[in-house]
Symmetry: none
Subunit: 401 residues, 2 copies
């Protein structure tokens, strides 16, 4: 079932504001049996008061037991079935560094590699070249010129960079050229469908010119291309929900994901307080606000339990400012769990809180993993959060007579 | 969504062991209002301690309100959507008596019936003929010879027996020949598709020869054929999960179901303790173990509440031996509920327990129907149990970047 078939038909408009606060990777685990999770260890008086007033649940980002990356995690929260809307690896990498993909673009993740005298790969990651060395090399590849196509090259990190080909008639289905082995040459770019033949030819020309430009390099004298992908085509928030939506984030990845669903990126916040200030400054101009907070995830990835607890407390501290703006619906959630115990994204359901004047309260008195089990939203797939948001905002009509 | 599309792509390998203990029909009901269920009446200190350490939920075998047979019940636990993977009645009957179906086989459930002088059915079940009488008759039908096809005949119980036709080009779609009425002759076997024309002809020849062989019998002088079905084609555990899997069961049905998903059948246990010994003896040779315990179901089917309670306590007693082997993930569940009160399989969710070092604990302190309601797994479709098992075993990568 495509939820948007329903929301397109049923959504209505009013003056309400919906705010979705996403604390990335907020869900956690105890570090020792019987111990608290990060949320349970944190002192969160504002979130707890909101939980007492609102309704809670445990949102499943994709399906039970599936750990999502940031792409599917956020698409789910935005109400786009993450199993239906797949974002290619190249497109996500470009998005992650803030490259604004256009309709005719094909994005590719590239690796510098080391080639021996015979043209065989001796190191698939160019000796784990440092970013300071690789970034200028990536920029030097902007000298590649291919008739009829614009070529963009952007450094990423260490051996990785991104290439975007822009031009008419470029299909996004080309096989990876990384042979996943050393002692053999990179594969030639090979189209996976007829529409991508031109893309494969352009990619081959890019590699040829790149090898000339890199020929005097010791480590990074070649490259492999992976994850070819066209700009993902997602319907917009305006079209499926009738919402004028704004995204507030510090990191390019989350701005990019929001842009894919038609949100405007507002402000240039560098801190959480600046994000809240941006929210306040744009309050009258939008119906929906997505505000992304990164550090609950990065501390979890580092396995830094105490740091994650502190970051949760910082996040808690801004809640009153958001409430003071008077949103009709205030949602607090995460795109997935990132338990410090696992140092990685995980499959565990995410504590999710929705407060509105017409949510049906439940017994929950705090915002955390244990309390949300007895929450009124139960366990639910994250993709249903937006229909709940719209209804709680009085923005959804009745289905059927 | 085909879950196996995800597990094929995302599964990884490590040295962890996963054990799934299936207490058949374990879920129950109170016999009187306010009374305990069988699990609640039982003294289960080991399961309760495991519940306190692990996470619990209520698994829905198929969909809410649907009572499954053993086939769909187990397929769900194995992670095969029971609504997508259908096992034909003939194939399930053959599986249930331990007949090992091969690729070119078509299995058929057969009933002995009584025909009058005009060839009309006077008793559809041959006067409820006793097994001692019917089994030799079924074996006598092995005299049927059909050129180009192997014919296997196996007794089942009372008026029932199984026939398997083995040969190239045999489709599994032939209509039942039981007219579901007396006073009329059995129907001729009729193919439901072009590929099954040959099967229908062979079935007709089988019935013709069988009637000659049975012509002097008083009760069982004819037969009807139902539930024609080819061997179900299911992807294997190895392919979809990367797991080398072993099945330990006393009864042929459960060995057969496990064999359909590519598990090895290990040991020849006749008791629960022998099943645990088999588990221990094969510990180093497999990644995944399915251990089936029958008597929680059969006592439930008999309406023997106190007997079921005892069988649950016997089951509880083996838990420490299983834990001592050190599984990374230990699951306790059932393929469905079999409340003594109903004397049958039922639709009620099944108490399901998963213990691992990275499961997220919940408030549950005992393994039973009431506690599992407040479990961290919530209510979930049984088909997701395997993705949860793999993730908890550290055997699943991230979906999307």
């Amino acid at each position: 079932m495509d939820i948007h078939k329903l929301t397109r038909e049923l959504h209505t408009k009013n003056d309400s504001k919906i705010v979705m606060l996403v604390a990335d990777g907020v869900g956690g685990l105890p570090m020792t049996p019987g111990g608290p999770t990060e949320l349970e260890a944190a002192n969160t008086p504002n979130l707890d008061a909101l939980a007492a007033r609102g309704v809670q649940g445990a949102s499943i980002p994709v399906l039970p037991g599936i750990s999502p990356g940031s792409g599917p995690g956020h698409l789910g929260l935005f109400g786009y079935d993450p199993l239906q809307y797949l974002i290619g690896r190249g497109a996500l990498e470009a998005t992650g560094i803030g490259f604004e993909l256009q309709e005719n673009d094909v994005a590719v993740r590239c690796n510098f590699c080391t080639l021996d005298a015979d043209g065989n790969i001796s190191d698939r990651r160019a000796g784990r070249i440092a970013t300071e060395e690789s970034a200028p090399l990536a920029i030097s590849l902007r000298a590649v010129k291919i008739p009829g196509v614009e070529v963009f090259v952007e450094p990423v990190k260490e051996h990785r960079f991104v290439v975007v080909f822009r031009g008419p008639g470029l299909g996004g289905h080309v096989h990876d050229t990384d042979p996943q082995a050393t002692g053999v040459p990179p594969l030639a770019p090979r189209a996976a469908d007829a529409d991508s033949q031109k893309t494969a030819e352009i990619a081959a020309e890019f590699v040829k010119q790149a090898c000339v430009l890199l020929k005097d390099e010791k480590k990074a004298n070649g490259c492999t291309l992976r994850g070819f992908s066209a700009k993902p085509s997602l319907p917009s928030y305006q079209e499926v929900y009738g919402l004028k939506a704004a995204a507030i984030a510090v990191y390019p990845m989350y701005k990019g994901l929001a842009r894919l669903v038609g949100m405007d990126i507002v402000g240039e916040a560098k801190t959480l307080q600046e994000e809240v200030d941006t929210l306040s400054a744009n309050w009258n101009d939008y119906d929906f606000f997505f505000l992304h907070y990164k550090y609950t995830d990065s501390t979890g990835e580092d396995g830094a339990f105490e740091e994650k607890v502190k970051r949760i407390e910082e996040f808690d501290a801004i809640i009153p400012q958001v409430q003071a703006l008077g949103p009709a619906v205030l949602i607090v959630t995460g795109d997935h769990s990132t338990p410090s115990y696992l140092k990685s994204h995980s499959w565990h359901p995410v504590p999710t809180l929705l407060a509105s004047d017409c949510c049906r309260p439940d017994p929950c008195q705090a915002y955390n993993e244990t309390e949300c089990i007895r929450g009124g939203l139960g366990q639910f797939e994250a993709k249903y959060l937006m229909t709940l948001a719209l209804s709680n905002a009085g923005r959804m009509g009745k289905f059927g007579a």
